[in-house]
Symmetry: C2
C-alpha cells in the first residue's frame, strides 16, 4: 500500500527574482541610502521613513532583471534601478498629500509626521535626484523613457482626480487611469533594462509590454485585496479605498451589475463619502454576490497572461523564469 | 531766462532685455502653450491659469539672453527656456500647497480653485515635461545642470521649512535658503545658455555667477517690497510674508537690531503667528527705525554688483547691455 504524502503545490514566489538580482540589489540599496543624503537633515529623515518601511522594491528589481535578461554587463542598471525607486517614492509622498492618507505601508504617512510641506518637497528632491542619477548613467534613451513616464504618471493621477467619486466611470477609463498611475512606471522600469542591454527594438518593446501588463495586473490585484486582504499582507486596512471613496474596478463592476437600490448605495457611500463600517460589510457582500472581486482578479489574470507572452521572444533561462514567476506571484497575492 | 524742464532720470528698465529676446520669446511662449497640452483637461486648465497670469518670464528670458551673449545659433535655447519656466511654475504650484497661499500673482491660487491635489500633480506633470524637453535638446550637460537645480531648489525649500518661525535665524542661513529656493534656478537658467553656446568654462561659470547673484538680489528686493510695495506692483499684498509668519531678511535685521521688548514682539507675531494688521503697522515702523528694509535693499545692491562684474569677461554689445540693465531694473523695483 502506497504512503500518501501530503500534496503541497508549489506556490508561485518572488524568491527566484530576489535571488537573481540579489548582488545588484545590494548596490541599489547602498545607492538609495547614499542619494537620500543631504545637509538638510529633514530630507534623509522623511525619505528614509518611507524607503526603509519595507516596500518590496519590485520596480527596481524589474530593471535589474530586464538588464540581466538582456545580457547587460555594465553598471548603469544600478543607478537606473535606484532612479525608478526614487520616482516611485516621490509618487507615494505626493499621493499621500493628494489622498490625505494617514497610513502608508503600515506606518504613519510622512505627511502626518512632518506635514504636507515636507512630503511635497522631499518628493521633489527625490525626483531631482532620480534625474541626476539618470544623467550620470548617460543614456539619452533611458532619460527619455523615464521623463515620459514622469509625465504619464502625473497624467494618470490627474485623470483619477477627475474620475473620483464617479461610480459610473467606464472600465476603459479606469484602465487608462491605472495604466498611467501604476503600469507606466513598471513598463519604463523594464524597458530601460533592455535599452541598456542594447537589445533590438522588438525586445525593448517586449520588456516594456511585460512591465505594462504586469503593472496593470498588479494594480487590479491590489484593488481586489483592498476588499478582501488582511492588514498584515497589505500594510493598509481592508476597506481603505472604500473609506476614501476611491472608485476601483471591484466597485465599478458591482455598481454596473447591481440594481437601482444598490447603485444608490454605492453613490451614497462613495460619491457622497458617507460610508461607515457597516456599509463596508454590505459593500463586500454586494461585491461577492456579483463576483466583482473574483472578476477583478480574473481581469488581472488576463493582463498577467499578456505579460508572460511578451517575454516569449527571449531565450529560456534564469532571468526569464524569474520574471515569469513574478507575474504568477503578483496574481497569487489575491488568494 | 531759461525754461526749466522737468528732469526725468532714465529709470532702468527691462525693455532692452525684452527687445533682445522678443522673437525667441514668442517661440518659447508657443512651446509653453503646446507643452501644457494633455488629453487630461484639468492639466492645461491648471497650468495655464498660472502660466497666463502675467509673470514676467524673467528666467526664460535669461536663458535666451545668455544663449545670445554666447553666440549660440541653434534651436535648443527655446526648449530649455520653456523647461526653465516649467520648473519655475511647478515650484510655484508646489509652494502654494506648502505655504497654504490663497493668492498668487493677484489671482486666486490654483490650489484654491482646483484643490491641493491638482496643484501637486500638475506641478509634477510640468516637471516631467521640462525634463522631456531637455532630453529633446540633447545636451547632457544642460540636463545635469537643471536636474541638479531641481534638487537644490527642493533642498532650499525644505531648509526654509526648518528655519520657519525662527526669528533668530542667521543671515548666512537665510542666504543659504534663498540661494536654493530662488537663485539656483536663475543660475541654471543662465548657465545653460552659455553651455549651449559652447563657451569656455570660465564664461559658463560667469553666466552662472551672474544668474546666482541676480537671483539673490531679486529675492532680497522681493522680501523688502513685501513690507513696502503696493499690491498692484507685486500681485500680492504688502504684509503677506508677515501674515504667513515668513522669516525674511528685513525681519532678521529688525529682530537683531531691536531690544528685548521688540524681539518679544517679533516672536509673538511671527513664531506664534499672532500678528494682526495693527501689528503690521508696528512691524513696518520698527523696520524703518532700524533701517531694516533699506539695508535689505543695500544687501541686494551688493549681490547685484557681483552679478554685473561677473559679465565683465564678455565683450560689450546688445546682449551684455540688456543683462546689465536687468540687474539695475531688479534693484530699482525697490523704489
Amino acid at each position: 500500500m502506497a504512503l500518501v504524502l501530503p500534496f503541497e503545490p508549489n506556490e508561485p514566489s518572488i524568491e527566484a527574482l530576489v535571488a537573481l538580482v540579489k548582488a545588484d540589489m545590494e548596490r541599489v540599496n547602498a545607492t538609495i541610502l547614499a542619494r537620500t543624503g543631504s545637509d538638510v537633515a529633514m530630507i534623509p529623515e522623511v525619505a528614509n521613513h518611507l524607503i526603509s518601511s519595507g516596500g518590496k522594491r519590485l520596480r527596481p528589481m524589474l530593471t535589474l532583471a530586464c538588464a540581466s535578461l538582456s545580457g547587460y554587463r555594465g553598471d548603469g542598471h544600478v543607478k537606473l534601478a535606484a532612479s525608478v525607486e526614487f520616482m516611485h517614492t516621490a509618487t507615494l509622498l505626493h499621493d499621500d498629500v493628494v489622498d490625505e492618507s494617514d497610513m502608508r505601508r503600515g506606518k504613519l504617512a510622512a505627511r502626518k509626521l512632518w506635514g504636507n510641506e515636507a512630503s511635497v518637497l522631499v518628493g521633489d528632491f527625490l525626483l531631482g535626484q532620480a534625474f541626476k542619477m539618470m544623467v550620470e548613467v548617460g543614456s539619452m534613451t533611458c532619460l527619455d523613457i523615464l521623463a515620459t513616464a514622469a509625465c504619464v504618471i502625473a497624467e494618470g493621477e490627474v485623470m483619477q482626480l477627475a474620475a473620483a467619486k464617479n461610480t459610473a466611470t467606464s472600465e476603459d477609463d479606469y484602465l487608462a487611469v491605472i495604466r498611467g498611475k501604476t503600469a507606466e512606471l513598471f513598463a519604463a522600469a523594464c524597458e530601460v533594462g533592455a535599452v541598456l542591454g542594447q537589445r533590438p527594438k522588438a525586445e525593448q518593446a517586449a520588456c516594456r509590454s511585460y512591465g505594462m501588463n504586469l503593472g496593470i495586473a498588479f494594480q487590479l490585484v491590489d484593488d481586489a485585496l483592498d476588499y478582501g486582504g488582511s492588514q498584515a499582507k497589505l500594510g493598509k486596512n481592508v476597506g481603505d479605498d472604500f473609506r476614501e471613496g476611491k472608485i476601483t474596478l471591484p466597485v465599478l463592476l458591482a455598481f454596473r451589475r447591481g440594481d437601482a437600490s444598490e447603485r444608490a448605495f454605492w453613490q451614497r457611500c462613495l460619491e457622497k463619502g458617507e460610508g461607515n463600517d457597516a456599509d463596508l460589510d454590505q459593500a463586500i457582500g454586494l461585491m461577492t454576490r456579483h463576483r466583482a472581486i473574483a472578476d477583478t482578479v480574473e481581469r488581472a489574470r488576463h493582463y498577467g497572461a499578456i505579460a508572460k507572452d511578451a517575454l516569449a521572444l527571449f531565450p529560456n533561462g534564469q532571468a526569464k523564469d524569474a520574471l515569469m514567476e513574478a507575474v504568477d506571484f503578483c496574481l497569487s497575492r489575491a488568494h
